[in-house]
Symmetry: C2
């Protein structure tokens, strides 16, 4: 049997008893004949505690030094997990990013992995030991500590699985797998047994918080079979893998929602070349990410332009727009922080016509006004008033045959 | 002006306000024209918290992994101190041991520094930045994290001062300097303005907890002027430096005491070659350190043998002795955990006769029985009943002219 990479999130190593549980799971995989690499996040709450210390010293921390402080959370966790494996009678060695080595660019706080030299890990595995690797962190070319951003441990795990040619990467979390919708707001949501990389990528982007987006991109690029499992259950979880014919028979695989966005609408924007570039260039200069952009057809040389930003960026985005009003002759800047983006996702859409129309009909039937629309090959997103989030998700879940009773057997 | 290394202990960086204080002190030294290197310990209580986590996972931790966990305390501290310096308007970069690099042997938990490559530090200093280095930690040849043992940050600081050719190394702590005796038990104790390396070495070995012994050895070997200062005061502190003529005029520089020892006495040990080696070899095999050893002259081929061990090792030492009783024909093993070692230290003893006799006379006059005696060129130690510790220290302090009123001016 080959190599297995298992990633455990903060709640899975949240206390000593849970750390022991992780150790036992790792040794079970070893006993089954796998070479085992664990990727471990900081104990639940630890990253926030460390960020709190940083903020107490300065509200505007240098990102290199913040990374030095924050990376200790994973360091503590890998040491403790290695010790727990030894206490259970196994053999284990912990690795920090610079010991592996996991080389990233120098963008502190959201560094990207550039390459992995897995030689030291491979040697440890050959010696029959479990390798316990600190997630979330990297080292740049000059030996500075970097971090990969929230959820970065997922990416560490998938990148290691790719570098080691692992047969699978298992992401352990506190849910049983990937669901057709968020079970907290949609009681009929079902766990999926399989989902394609493309769909998972859309779901991750759309606000389903199970996996970091970049980890899915990595898995897709290197064709790493990715399991999402619960560390508190023996449930097989959800397999994220390449698309196949059976998947395409299902029109919609899941419903995602995202309440973390806000909308800005600019009235009477001049319909001239360079105006959009001026507006979105100014936002980009302030590092404000824009998601959906919708522009109406121009009337008398002017058009309305709406876009969404992450809710915490709304005030900054309004400031940027206010600074452009005079220059561009915009008549008004409106904004709305009470919105939600509700999306349907499915590779089957490619082969099924009229899916978007069906979505709009369902929302209309519930009296939900659609403020913005955005589509891709395998998803349709609608921005609606935030108060309709649950209603929209549940109605769409039923309409597209995802309720537990309706579709068990097709994907399960 | 040259390079200055300042070391701040755990209480000096115990909270955010104290960290800011350290930042201001460092920038004051920069403003005075020094290149400044800070060596920082973990925030007070943090190392114990981390060790607590380790012990909760396993009572017998692998030392490599324990070092991985414990070394995070200093890592958090250097990041926060660097941030605090930046917040005060200065420029600073933090360094971990592997970034400096501080190379040690592979003896986890009490590694020894083998060499320091200070190239990266020198570059940072040339750029006008404060270098903030994690104390207590090193990296071995294979890139594993090591730690130097309790107080190891002192050694990091002195070793860096030697490697950088610094003009001085300042050890900031929560006391004003080195005292003639522990002020907690001897109210007339005075702060010394200067003390020789040799005396400091004896005082450190004898239980005065101001400096780690190895840091003094390093300072003596590389002739680094070492200041002991308080980070909460502008007092100049105590200079630890090479011996000079003025020092030799003082017979006794300080009185040390150590209550962390226990005595074992073996009755009727056969006076044969190899017996002592058998006894102390067996203790060494169990990593039990022995301090004072006293053997009576043999009578009828047998002698009594007494030695002291650290109090926590007493039970283990008794076990080892019990296992030898039959083999060696020892008639009894006695032990006493209620002892103290009281010592007088001074380079002046070399030129003054009768110092030991004067010590014994003082103790006798107070009715204190001497259980064991050990001497070196510049110290005399007596083991006495623990309950006499304060009385012995105070009487000797007065006898050798160390009380505040008596000797101000000679050394002050």
């Amino acid at each position: 049997m080959g190599c297995l990479v298992q990633k455990y999130g903060g709640t899975s190593v949240g206390d000593v008893e849970r750390i022991r549980n992780v150790a036992r799971r790792a040794l079970k995989a070893r006993a089954a004949g796998h070479d085992v690499v664990l990727v471990v996040s900081a104990m639940a709450g630890e990253t926030n505690r460390l960020l709190g210390l940083v903020r107490a010293v300065t509200p505007t921390p240098n990102e290199r030094e913040q990374d030095v402080v924050v990376a200790t959370g994973e360091q503590v966790a890998v040491g403790l997990v290695a010790l727990a494996i030894q206490a259970e009678g196994g053999e284990a060695t912990s690795f920090l990013a610079h010991q592996v080595r996991i080389v990233t660019d120098a963008v502190h706080g959201k560094a990207r992995i550039q390459h992995i030299d897995a030689g030291a890990l491979a040697q440890t595995l050959r010696a029959g030991r479990v390798a316990v690797v600190a997630g979330f962190q990297g080292t740049d070319d000059e030996g500075n500590i970097t971090t990969l951003g929230r959820g970065g441990s997922d990416t560490t795990a998938v990148a290691l699985a790719a570098a080691l040619g692992a047969e699978a990467c298992e992401i352990y979390t506190d849910v049983l797998g990937v669901y057709t919708a968020d079970p907290n707001i949609c009681p009929s949501a079902r766990k999926l047994s399989r989902i394609s990389y493309e769909e998972m990528l859309e779901l991750a982007s759309l606000g389903a918080k199970v996996l970091q987006i970049r980890s899915v991109e990595f898995a897709m690029k290197y064709r790493v079979p990715l399991w999402v499992k619960s560390s508190f259950s023996e449930d097989p979880g959800t397999l994220v893998c390449a698309e196949d014919a059976a998947m395409e028979q299902v029109v919609v695989s899941g419903i995602a929602h995202d309440r973390n966005q806000a909308r800005i609408t600019l009235r009477d924007v001049p319909d001239n070349p360079g105006v959009a570039s001026r507006i979105f260039g100014a936002l980009s200069d302030r590092h404000i990410e824009v998601d959906i952009i919708v522009q109406t057809a121009a009337r008398e040389g002017r058009a309305d332009l709406s876009f969404t930003v992450n809710k915490p960026d709304l005030a900054a985005a309004r400031e940027v727009m206010a600074s452009l009003v005079g220059e561009l002759g915009i008549t008004s800047v409106e904004s709305d922080g009470q919105i939600a983006k509700v999306s349907i996702v499915g590779v089957g859409m490619r082969n099924h016509a009229g899916v978007a129309a069906r979505m709009f009909r369902v929302l209309a039937a519930e009296g939900i006004n659609i403020q913005m629309i955005s589509t891709s090959e395998i998803k349709v997103s609608c921005v609606v008033d935030e108060k309709y989030t649950e209603l929209a998700v549940r109605s769409l879940h039923t309409e597209f045959g995802l309720d537990a009773a309706a579709s068990e057997g097709i994907r399960g």
